[in-house]
Symmetry: C2
DNA sequence: TGCATTCTGTAACGAGCAGCACAAATATGG
DNA sequence: CCATATTTGTGCTGCTCGTTACAGAATGCA
């Protein structure tokens, strides 16, 4: 292993600090000064490690995405379509509200990509969001094939419904809604989900 | 009326142009150059008319809010709680998706206030959003008093549910979801809503 | 016609932005 | 202990941002 002066900071910890900043201020609202002071390094170190602001954000997004993807995998492992919906929505509540300062409230996708003038960034964020919706859709297609869902239901619509609900709940969390409040909201969503897939 | 040189642009049309820019790029993403070129005036004219960027945005927000409020009033006029919910969600679809270029897809609240590092701005946006939720809540309280809703239901939770749903659908519209797709989502939301307020 | 008033266009201001050049510092391999 | 490689801190760059000073143009009023 060839080596020079060792890096004085942990790349992963730096990404976590940067994530907090992007989460709270958005992509454009987060300045390089905000990022370097949050990480505790000088800008040349940051540029040497990540290239530029866009690449840094993409690395942060990738890190966030890995966690969301593993969350989604635990969701998709639920036995029935209704269990999938319940695990998903209740999980979103835990991720988005009352996190005890570990992460900002809400969801990085909503807070960083929603109002961004740079199309590269918002496209990238939306790509990741769409991926999660596709995972739900695929799971519901499988459920329909397995007879767990009526043949008449459209998996894509179900996935879109849950995604919209999750995003809306994340937005409310970022505006101060508490976990119990959002859990009550999730329960309405689940009641209607259940009513929809089990027509009387 | 004392007057000097007459203003060469219409204030309301200017606000509409500015609204489009804020809607597409967010508050921080919209530069004064973006705004002045979209309006077709020079910056001193804009500053003379509106003060500064923050005040311009607040004027835009007020204008948007007036339309949303009149939309809400037509929603609240629906005869039953379920009709209110249906009118609300279907109306959101019409406002947010396939607008034919008249407005950008989605909703100004989501696109401009969600990822903004300036707390003054996001607070202002959230204040307006919360106002609409409160209107729904009040309407549902009235519906419960009238016996249109079961006494066990919590009007605030219902309002929160519909608001989350509306916001989530607006986000999906901004990502390219079509009106028919969103209408199908709204119908799921209503199915559950109907099941919730009329427990079998 | 002259004066007061208001708007318009040109051109600039300081501040803050993303990004980088460079030399000192700290590691490894011979 | 020297050569090489990599990171660190200082300080800067060019650019874009929001905002404004100022002079000229267009109105109403006397």
């Amino acid at each position: 292993m060839v080596a020079g002066r060792p890096r004085a900071f942990c790349t992963d910890k730096a990404l976590d600090s940067a994530m907090q900043v992007f989460w709270r201020k958005g992509y454009e609202g987060a300045s390089m000064v905000d990022l370097t002071t949050a990480i505790g390094i000088n800008s040349p170190s940051l540029y040497a490690a990540f290239g530029n602001k866009e690449n840094l954000f993409k690395a942060v997004l990738e890190r966030y995405d890995a966690r969301r993807k593993s969350f989604m995998e635990s969701v998709l492992a639920a036995p029935t379509a209704l269990d999938v919906a319940r695990t998903f929505l209740h999980g979103i509540v835990d991720l988005a509200a009352d996190t005890g300062g570990k992460t900002p409230p809400g969801c990085l996708y909503m807070q960083s990509g929603q109002s961004c003038s740079d199309a590269h960034i918002s496209d990238e964020v939306n790509k990741h969001r769409a991926e999660k919706e596709a995972m739900l859709c695929e799971r519901f297609e499988q459920a329909r094939r397995a007879g767990d869902l009526p043949a008449a239901t459209d998996p894509a619509t179900l996935a879109r419904y849950l995604t919209a609900m999750g995003n809306g709940m994340a937005v409310q969390a970022s505006c101060g809604a508490s976990a119990p409040e959002l859990r009550a909201v999730a329960d309405i969503a689940l009641a209607s989900f259940s009513a929809f897939i089990n027509p009387a």
